[in-house]
Symmetry: C2
């Protein structure tokens, strides 16, 4: 076994308040970087770049520390409050509506990598503005080019397309959900969308279909996996972020990015994100432990083989 390489995660850190058709959370730890970093931490040493305000609860910081996450890149702005998001999922989880959004300290966030982070070999760019994603890539001036995973969301597809297109040419692995893949490519079918996205820059594409599994597109082939059969579905928030975090973490843990390793990374990401949806916030993900993740990974092999 190679020793795990470090992972750098850049993205939002938030205080969330979530309503589903069945339950209502309090003010909980959220943000793409939170879900991704905790997921990644199960596989590899993980560094976090983000920003919080003076109101960020010490208990939330302890949650990161419990997972050994390096917080040298977590800025605290004592003059402001943490990014706050409140949302409500519709009936049958068919979409969600934002009830309240306060960007707060996140509004003027510029990710700055501490010098000690600049050589990180595995990097995940959460779905922040594409101009900021490019700004991070500019700072990754290590001797060896890192492997970069990026995510995005529909707002950036609609509003900052040129910066997004530029970012796509500078990354290795693009992880995107099905609706956004169709929106970005104009294709009607996720298989065509995945092929189309590879022509836009990233040599590896993962299209996530939520409860219907995910698809991997690579020069060496195509891979499709089913979802883990979740029956206790509580809150989908962060599922995609923890999926991407588990992928980059697993790849760093084996220090490989070939097709075979990528398929295993997709399977681990499937297992990890199935935990995320079983509670509000990172509660289930954080409590589950690596043994539960490995058990779900093995279960995924078992239920998909014939």
């Amino acid at each position: 076994m190679p020793s795990p390489r470090p992972v750098l995660i850049i993205g939002s850190v938030a205080i969330d308040r979530v309503a589903t058709p069945f339950a209502q959370s309090g003010d909980i730890l959220g943000g793409a970087a939170t879900y991704a970093a905790i997921a990644s931490s199960y596989f590899a040493p993980t560094r976090l770049v983000g920003i919080v305000g003076s109101d960020f609860p010490p208990a939330f910081l302890r949650r990161y520390r419990k997972h050994g996450i390096d917080l040298a890149g977590l800025q605290t702005d004592p003059a402001g409050k943490t990014f706050y998001w409140s949302g409500r999922y519709r009936e049958h989880f068919a979409g969600r509506d934002t009830l309240e959004i306060q960007l707060n300290v996140f509004e003027n966030f510029t990710p700055v990598l501490p010098p000690s982070y600049r050589n990180t070999p595995f990097v995940m760019l959460g779905a922040i503005q594409p101009s900021l994603q490019n700004h991070v890539i500019d700072q990754l001036a290590g001797a060896r080019r890192p492997f970069i995973l990026a995510d995005t969301f529909d707002l950036w597809i609609h509003t900052t397309r040129p910066e997004l297109d530029r970012m796509l040419k500078r990354i290795d692995l693009f992880v995107i959900n099905e609706e956004e893949a169709l929106l970005l490519t104009g294709e009607r079918n996720p298989v065509l969308a995945g092929r189309h996205l590879r022509r836009m820059g990233p040599r590896i594409i993962v299209i996530k279909k939520g409860g219907h599994g995910s698809l991997l597109f690579h020069a060496d082939g195509y891979f499709a996996t089913s979802a883990y059969p979740v029956t206790k579905f509580v809150d989908p928030t962060g599922a995609g972020d923890s999926y991407a975090g588990a992928m980059i973490g697993y790849l760093a843990s084996v220090n490989r990015t070939d097709f075979s390793a990528l398929k295993k990374a997709v399977a681990y990401a499937t297992a990890v994100s199935s935990l995320t949806v079983e509670s509000f916030s990172v509660d289930r993900l954080s409590a589950a432990g690596r043994k539960t993740i490995d058990a779900r990974y093995r279960e995924l092999i078992k239920i998909t083989r014939f």
Copy 2:
């Protein structure tokens, strides 16, 4: 290799006229029994029970004969016309609307099994009225109880629930699509719906999710498979019927119904139904040949293993 056992298919035979967002068919061969019987014929000797009118084109009969389908159970009513259905798929194939329906000879159809059919060991009941499905089961009075697969659709769930519930207690394998499984069980999740359906009677459940693959529920375990990556998507009509036909045909071909055989049957059904959607009517399915089906089956193994 065991020699294939015969299969009996009961269901609608129709003349269809289909519009999709991209193309318009002429008057084409359709009906659940048509798709299912041609799919089954690739695996096992197949017998068809249905009804047509005096207008049924000889070319359509030749299509069945090309596949060696036994037509002793295909009634012809010289006084009437064949069941006619015209429909239009909505944008992105999100549902379909019936433009015209003429039940014609199908309105008073009572499936009668020729004596030579009554010992058929593998039977598929297409989505006809549950009372007729029960009537067929009453006639299956052979020395050995057959293995029975049944399908249904939302109209029967809404209108003839007691007969449907009775039918479910008399069959072995229920093949149903995801929306109908949720409707029938009141569950919000296909995994819970599959378990719930097993408690309603059939010991084996398959839930089809169209382009997202399918799920198998059995006392020995759960199996999930991805869809074959279709890129030339023309018309989904008959995909589910050919899926069920391929399942019953494969099981008859190996004369087994254990969990391992059922998983392989699901994979063959996935391969076969991926051909159906690549043309109007049974054109692609009929032209493909067993070699193409086997190639897609092997491809499905390759793209789902990790």
